[in-house]
Homo-oligomer: 345 residues x 4
């Protein structure tokens, strides 16, 4: 089968690989119909994720059709259409039983990382019964690809951890795909203000279309000041960090109101400064989270009931044999205005 393989820092190629086989009773083989590319895939390609070794088939998102199942799988059968979670969850370990699937002792984020992933014709999914979700009849499969990772990430790590609530004020630092996913799902809770902060006016324009009540281009270094003005001097109840560098985290520390939360979503490569000499008495929380995808069933209901339209995040479409073009488009997002790209079988 065809697959996009990581070849070590800076290298990727479409390769011919054997079709994956069932290895454990809980496995399923899924024929991929649609997948996408994640910012994390770009991180891997830069060499930022040393646990991902050369030769790995990338990709941890997608929908498809069950092709085969292991002896222990009763919930799915060949022919079933399924959504693949980016997080594999055994459903049995202490972490899974607490809903913290990201730390599953035999799962977590392994797809396209520690085992071969979804940017291929077929993928092997361990713990299939608790890592795949049946696709309702009539559902828009492109919409559901957004539920593999980006929407639960924005929602769980940003919106839920940030305790967004009716009437509250929210700032989202970073208006890329993940910040926009947080923006879309923050609106489930009817906050009074959602202030979107970025350096890219195009993305801020999108943010306004997606429901931001205010947008701030932080290039002038005055974003914190502007937010304070917009919030009567208090700052925001929830500051969602959706970039992953020290400067944007630092901005969140300046934005958060007493009693507020900094919900970190960004993937950080460096430590940050936490200004406890000021914040120790501000009654705040800083939260971190690798998405658990514990809200996937709920998000599917919001999509089915039209409370959420994930297709707004999709800007480009490719076939699997154009995946290198897809990477190129996604990798030059500032120019191409790409958010999420769909790659179809």
């Amino acid at each position: 089968m065809k697959a996009l393989a990581y070849g070590g820092p800076g290298k990727k190629a479409v390769e011919d690989r054997p079709k994956p086989q069932i290895k454990a009773p809980g496995d399923a083989i899924v024929k991929i119909t649609k997948t996408t590319i994640c910012g994390t895939d770009l991180h891997i390609l830069k060499g930022d994720v040393p646990t991902c070794v050369a030769g790995r088939i990338l990709g941890h998102e997608g929908v498809g059709v069950v092709d085969a199942v292991g002896a222990g799988v009763t919930a799915f059968k060949p022919g079933d259409r399924v959504l693949i979670s980016c997080i594999s969850s055994c459903g049995k370990c202490e972490y899974c039983r607490r809903g913290m699937y990201s730390h599953c002792t035999t799962g977590g984020w392994i797809l396209g990382h520690l085992i071969d992933g979804t940017q291929a014709e077929y993928v092997r999914i361990p713990h299939a019964e608790t890592s795949l979700y049946p696709i309702p009849a009539g559902a828009d499969e492109e919409a559901l690809v957004m539920l593999s990772d980006i929407l639960p990430t924005g929602f769980e790590c940003g919106v839920l951890n940030g305790k967004v609530a009716p009437g509250s004020t929210v700032a989202i630092v970073g208006s890329g795909p993940i910040g926009l996913a947080a923006l879309l799902t923050a609106q489930f809770y009817s906050p009074a203000e959602i202030i979107m902060i970025d350096l890219d006016d195009n993305r801020l324009g999108l943010a306004r279309q997606f429901g931001a009540t205010h947008t701030i281009n932080s290039a002038d270094g005055k974003a914190a000041e502007t937010v304070k003005t917009l919030t009567g001097g208090r700052g925001v109840d929830a500051a969602i960090e959706a970039v992953g560098v020290p400067a944007t985290f630092g901005l969140c520390e300046d934005l958060v109101a007493p009693g507020g939360i900094i919900a970190n979503v960004g993937v950080h490569g460096k430590k940050v400064d936490l200004h406890l000499e000021r914040l120790w008495s501000h009654n705040i929380a800083v939260t971190t989270r690798l998405v658990d995808t514990v809200t996937t069933p709920m998000l599917m209901k919001t999509v089915q009931s039209k409370k959420l339209d994930p297709t707004r995040l999709i800007t480009h479409r490719f076939k699997l044999d154009q995946i290198l073009d897809a990477y190129d488009t996604f990798g030059r997002a500032a120019e191409t205005h790409a958010l999420k790209v769909i790659i179809s079988a």
Copy 2:
């Protein structure tokens, strides 16, 4: 009246001052029967709290007898015995209505800081109806002095923020009075393990008497390793920081399990490093809090029902005219083994 006045960095003196007067309808004047000294008073004396100016009468803890009340005060009358909260709360502002009295827009921590405090014969208490608590008949007043600040601080900032729960594992970094207050109140929730970490073997000995299941002298730099061993490699569910320096906060970052909480109690003078390059995916929270004393009524119930014996924190007793000796004893705690000192009228 006699009062202990701050004279600028490094200076304090017992001075003669006029008895305080009612200034606002919500005020009460309280004749102090017992007060104590807080680590924060030592910080002020070092010059670490620039918002506290020379001339200020120190002290934000104590019990006493109501001497006079303003026109708006109906809940108390002269002669009532009262516990003084270290936090003044108006009961009306948005923060007070949310239970975040520490950020009361006209109160918060003002006693012995922005207005004259309790280390005196009399003190003026603003917002008296919502900043004083009636002392039940027969209550041990020395015990209740511990409820002005130290026990709610350990409990709210450490135990509640740390979400200590039955069966959970807790590490408390710092076995001084505030760490011990967290230790005593953590036991309200029956955690499986409470690991106490300090550099002082005497204090660790006390911690064992107070209910710690394990104690670690961190002088050898191996505390994190030892905690990992004690917790099957996971780390602790709650790491309570009760010191306030970068090294101890850093230790908490090394101790906390995935899904756990670092509950900061310490007063920090410097920023700390937050290792998001590692912790971004650990599903943790870092919390900060200036005590709200919102749990004071509940803590009084636990004292009255003998679930908590705050007098275990009291090591020395002085009269008000010996308050300089009291400061000396409290200031040399490593030698004197002082925890909390009681100063009686």
Copy 3:
């Protein structure tokens, strides 16, 4: 001044009364600009509320202008425009400190019940600082009249107690003003389905306009069956009882899914049957609540930010000297299609 006085069961009259005076330091006198009539006022008139005695000026909702304040009131001054909460809250007692203002030991629901109310030119408001809310410049005062009682009631007793959540299913039994208030505020949380049940097709039509995803006329006795069909056999996560009779409570028992909540909003005059022989093992909760109006500040923010338009509940407008007509119109709601009526000074 003119006032609508209760004259014992079945009797009411517009009377001339002396303008109220400040009685306690915490009082304010408010000149009413707009008030309304509540279903509870009709209950009083039927003689269903024996604690309300003849002679009482009715009304517990409204907005106005502060005319005078007591010696202890610093947060308001004459000329301030204010929203009156139906619940008087001292801000000091144990219940108020827990946010349960409805059970304030010297307040609660007293206006137009135990003390004279708002259907008059002026009203005396006890505990003014914690029972009045400043009206933001430019706010729509008619909209805010809906925040005195009906919207916080639907929201707190129905939506918050019912834990309405994104993707969840909700049934609201009773499509009168209070059920519609629950319907409007349930949408803060983006549930997947809101099923509205009533006997009146006009009200069900309104419910669809207000956002119900399904409506059921329960006249045929098959409402429970229909709800089961709509929910894949499970029943609803939240069943909100907004009528107050045994039959509608019983319907909620038939509608609620395992793990769900019956949030009672209705004012009941009789006991109901609780079918524990079936429900003991269904992991449900039944909640009751007299509105606390603890969410009033939050609801004001949602109105100011256009997340909620309370004027949709207003169907008729009268002047104070037409208040008997207003009662007539409101009392014959089935014919007049009245929801809430505004009575202006």
Copy 4:
């Protein structure tokens, strides 16, 4: 093998049965070392549980040794010592993923009810990986038998649903095994008062030994009055119903304070009266729950750390071939003072 079989209402017998076999990939066969009898077993024998048919081997509690596992089971192997949960949980269905194992779509309470149970030499356990728990080395197996059902039931349905908290007041109506299990586990949260109510002075004596702060024999019909006196007229924060008849539920309605919770644990055979004509405005909750055993891992930690000694509930011991005597002793508890009986292989 020997097994205790239900023979229809009023009938039971020790019978010879074939050893159970693996039927599904997720099954395990467990050799029982210790089991016990539950009040529910007596209900079945009275004919109160029509879903349990004649021929069924009874019992849903116990510990044992894994004898065989199905093809899908990787977490356990023959020879492993295991605790059997009374609730079978697939770990995959929507209910299991929400932690509501009691409503598992292919599990729940099936052992000794819909499939053969543990009062036998061997038992087949479906969904073994998520329904069995490994027994730590050195653990007291008799203590752990109490974790199959009775302790999680008292804890989850009574203590957790009742939100028992430090300083709160609790009444437990019913001082039988389940009420005592609630009493033991309520102490995890250090409530100020635990008032135990029963008609049997022997059981009330035990309650005092087990930590009740007050006991009330309700024979005189004045229990509610006495509780009001003990609580300053308020009533209790949590009223735990541990009997299951209308009178005791009604007593809980009389005991609960405004803002409190009635946590139903009792298995009811009849509807009860819910006095909404009084309680609609009391801001209370009534909760029901079939135990989920979601807290079993946590309870094991509290046992291992000596915060809980479940053996206090064990009064008698028998061998499996004496199981009819065990039933006789347990069935005549008023005379024999039996709480829980251990039946060993």
